[in-house]
Amino acid sequence: MTQYIVDLGLGNVFAFLGAALAFLLAGIGSSIGVSIAGQAGSGVVAEDTDKFVNVMILEALPSTQGIYGFVIAFMIISKITAAGAGGLDIPSGVYLLMAALPMGIVGMFSAIYQGKVAAASIGIVAKRSQDMVKGIILTLMVELFAIFAILVSILMIGRV
C-alpha cells in the first residue's frame, strides 16, 4: 500500500498544491487590492489628470504580494525539479505545502488591506500632491507583513 502511494509521487502532488496556493491566494489578493486602489485612483485622475503619476505609484503597491507569491511558487517548483525522476517523498511534499501557506494567506489578506490604505492615501494625493511620500509610507506599513510572510515561506522551503 505504502509502496503504491510512493509510486504515485504523492510528494510531488503536495508540493504542486503548495506552489499553486502560494500564487493563487497572493495573486487574488493583489488583484483585489490593486483594483480597490485603482478605482479610487481613476476617480482622482478623472478630476485632475496631473495627478496620474502619483496615483499610479500608490496603486501599484498592493501588487507586490502577487510577485512574492510567484517567487515562492517558483522556489517550490524548482525543489520538485531538483528531486528528479523519483519525485519528492511525502513528508517533503507536505512541508512544501505548509511552507506555501504563510505567503499565500498572509499575502492575500495583506494585499486587500493594503489596497484599502492605498485608496485612502490616494485621497491624500488628491488634496496635496507633495504629501505623496506620506501616503506611500503609510501604505508600506502593510507591506511589512507580506515581507515577513515571504521570509517565513523561504525559510521553511530552505529546510526541505
Partner: protein
Amino acid sequence: MQREINYAYAVGRIRVAENAMLDKNKYERMIDQPSVDDCLRVLYEAGYQEAREYEDILKNESIKTYHYLSQISPEPDVFRMFQYKNDTHNIKVLLKDEFSNKESDHLLLENGSYEVASLKVMIRERYFKDLPQLLKEAILQVIEQYSKTKDPQIIDILLDQAYFRLFQSLSTTTRNAYLINLARIQIDMTNISAFIRIKSKMEDLELLSKVLIDGGTIDKKEYSRYFQEQIDVFKEKIAVTAYAEIMEQSFDNGFNITKLEKACDNFLMKYLRKSKNKAFGIEPLIGYMVGKETEIRNVRIILVGKINHIDNDIIRERLRTSYV
C-alpha cells in the same frame, strides 16, 4: 464592506472636487472685496458658471452639484431623497398660490427631483400618481383640510411631516446607519427648533403636537411634557443630549431665531465633517452635497450683504461653518 468599496471611485472624485470648495479664506476674500462684481470674480475663479443674475449663478451651481453626484455615485437614487426637500418646498408654494390665487414663481426651486413645470401640472390637474405615496397623501389631506378650515398653516405642517417621514423611510430602506442617523438628527433639530419657536411665541400646545415629527431620538411626549415648564427646564433636558451645543449657541447673549438656525446648521455640519475623510462609502458624497448647499447659502449671504451694503462684521457673523 463591498458596498462601501464600490464608492472608491466616487470618493476619489470628491476628494479633488472638495479642493474647489470655498473655505474660510475664500469667504474672507469675498467679504473683503469692495463691490459685488469683485465678489462674483472670486466665485468664477472657484468654478461657478457665469450668469447675468446672481440667483442664476447659485441655482446653476446647485443643479450642477446634484447632477454631478448622481452621475458619479454607485447608488444615484440616494440623492433623490434629499431632492424631495426641494420638491416639498415647491409643492407648498404651488398649493399656497392656488389657494390664494397668486403667482409666486420666483419662490420655486429648480433643483428638485421633479421639474417645476411638471409639478405645476400635477397640482393643477390633481394628478399625483408619479409622486411618492407619502407626499401624495399629504397633498390630498392638505386640499381636503384647507377647504374646511382655510388655515394656511396646515400646508406647511402636513407637508413637512410627509417629507420627514419620506426621508426617514427612504433612509431606512438604504440600510445605511449613517443615513438613518442623519434622518434622526434632522428630525430632532426640527423638533427642537419648533419647540423653541412655539414656546417663545407663547402659542399653544395643540400647535406644537401637530408640528412635532415622529422618529427622532427625543420622544414627542417629552416635548409636550416640557412645554408647560419654563424654557430653562427644557434647556437642562437638552444639555444632557448630543444637542447641547445647539442650545448653548442659540441662547448665548439672548435668544433669536437666526442664531438657532445657524446653530442647527453648524451642528449638522459637524456631524458630516466627522466622516469627511472616510476612504470608502457614501459619507463623503453626502458631506459634499450638504457642504455645497451650505456654501451656496453662504455665498448668498455674502452677495445679499454686499448688495445691501451690510457691514462686513455682520455678514461674517451670519456665515455658516464651511465643510472644508
